[in-house]
Symmetry: C2
Amino acid sequence: MNYQFSNNVPASDEDPVGNILKVAGDPKVISFAGGLPAPELFPVEALKQATNDVFDESGRQALQYSIAAGDPKLREQIAQRMNRSGIKCDIDNIIITTGSQQSIDLTAKIFVNPGDTVIVEQPTYLCALDVFRSYGAHIVGVPMDDDGMQMDALEQAVQANPNTKFIYTIPSFQNPTGRTMPADRRQKMIEIAEKYNVMILEDDPYGAIRFAGDDVAPVKTFEHDERVIYMSTFSKILAPGLRIGWIVAEKTLVKKFILMKQTVDVHSDNLTQHIIAKYMAENDIDAHIAKIKAVYRKREGIMMAAIEKYFPKDAHYSHPEGGLFIWVEVPGVDTQTLFNTCIEHDVAFVPGEPFYADQVIPGTFRLNYSNMQEDQIVTGIERLGNAIKETIAQSVEV
Amino acid sequence: MNYQFSNNVPASDEDPVGNILKVAGDPKVISFAGGLPAPELFPVEALKQATNDVFDESGRQALQYSIAAGDPKLREQIAQRMNRSGIKCDIDNIIITTGSQQSIDLTAKIFVNPGDTVIVEQPTYLCALDVFRSYGAHIVGVPMDDDGMQMDALEQAVQANPNTKFIYTIPSFQNPTGRTMPADRRQKMIEIAEKYNVMILEDDPYGAIRFAGDDVAPVKTFEHDERVIYMSTFSKILAPGLRIGWIVAEKTLVKKFILMKQTVDVHSDNLTQHIIAKYMAENDIDAHIAKIKAVYRKREGIMMAAIEKYFPKDAHYSHPEGGLFIWVEVPGVDTQTLFNTCIEHDVAFVPGEPFYADQVIPGTFRLNYSNMQEDQIVTGIERLGNAIKETIAQSVEV
């Protein structure tokens, strides 16, 4: 068959990151390329217990069709967590989604016509870029510094694009950079959004995984008129295989999300929603998150110390206070060449290019520390340091 | 906020079927309006055992991120079932989806640009119409008779719409009509699709629930060039709360589905995929399906006998040999008036109107028998018969 695809389909079948992950998946390679949480921290026994209780107490209900908004008991648990984080809401402000990726997809489907502008951090979560492209969005990247998206550049971008539908931001421990926007910048983002009447999509998968420094309230807590669509997920605080995320938004907007959600998959897995609600009722999820933080703090510290020891002195890198990622910039290095050299050294990362909507800053790459044993981190970063020095030496020779 | 939605969002927030289900949900109403499988048939204990085995044997893997195509063990189980049904395939022909609704949504997203034609049965599954509308499709309905879509009308529709992307068909025990296309008509559909070079989306959620008559092979088994996208689900043969369906298509096309699936929700619930694969490895799902068939056969028979006893003689109705639904046509009755009278009689159905893409046949409605105890079926159909007679008498008076 010679298929005639829609404009929603990417012209190319190429999946550069998929190819990188495939190469990095070689067992002898120490891979910092992925973005997986540490599976040894999954609370398997507690989830098993919760699941057995669901089967015993409400098995037939959990296995039957449910409502698109999501299980009320789970939304109640989430509402309590959200209110503790400063976001005032009740269960009618919340819709359950099949993970953060679907939250992004639904938001884009609801707001973006072809040609509409979506403003993103530069760099940003690459699979969000794929979503926005699938709806024909005009994507505008805003430069970042160590404190995240730069607000003067954001205002210029919004001014220059009057058809902007929303600003997509990952304000805490951003993917890929690990950077966090301070409170004053979050407040400024709200001011700009209100002044130019654009929405904000606040993607917060990592905010709960803070292992250093002080909490910063979500962007949504600074709003005056419910223009922020807040989204988070159980992927990093519980288990990503469960594919359960949520959106918090104004109630009339949640109704639109519910209509669209019915159309795309009726509702998210009902058994899993029951399991998570039961898990949260039977366990202190914050105590579990504290264990995650302790492990990630240690791994980040070991990686940072190894970077300082083995990387060239002119390398820049973020200093995350939470989340899963460190962002590195080595001036003058071509990251594809570096990647190839790394593979010879049995170590891998993700090159920065795919994370940029438009203008790429060369020499950048992402390192993940959440899913790697401590001794492997040191060995891997030493190999990576050697590969960087080798690549620089070769480029000087050329 | 005064939101500026995309063209993907329905102009109206009205949800006529949702409103009907709400009214029908009154505990004193005997409702034939829903489309739920019988929860008393869910194999709760066997699923609980399978789940415990998943947690014990591969808990961390089931809770971690997986691949967009879906769990290979589950795809292998599905491939074996598909080959037994006559559809030749291996796991690379299969992608796991978050239920049939997502299979329809992904297909529309991949193929439909605004203005492209999608041809459907008249009437058809109303939530498929919602999907096609969300992508701006031009929907063309083809009349049916007791043997399903009429092939001469189909050929005319394809000829008249050269921008047709695909024919959407539910060939077995169709929703809402319960009708089944015989083999010769399926073959003719393939001939038309090949002649005019259009795709077919074969939606087969009910095919395995045949309780009378002889099996008819899937439309896909008649194809010569893999132009049929076949889709099915565990919703009716196991449990709909699990939200797991699948697509069988040509391998290069499955790769496009995988790319798009990654964009919309990364992958479907991994724990649930593991549970179903384990359940199928530990149990004979066909023995379970046999239990479903026996119960539904009995309920359909009771409903049919009650219809013959209590409905006016000029009522037409389908005689399903499987599935969940009977379709009724009572000439000269306005079904909204009938619905209101029925609610006074504490009985409910779904009026036919929302199932039609364009030209509505008045006086039609859908009855569901899968989720109703036998004595309730008789009482409910008696009430419905009385309401029909009352409505006809009133309309004659007017």
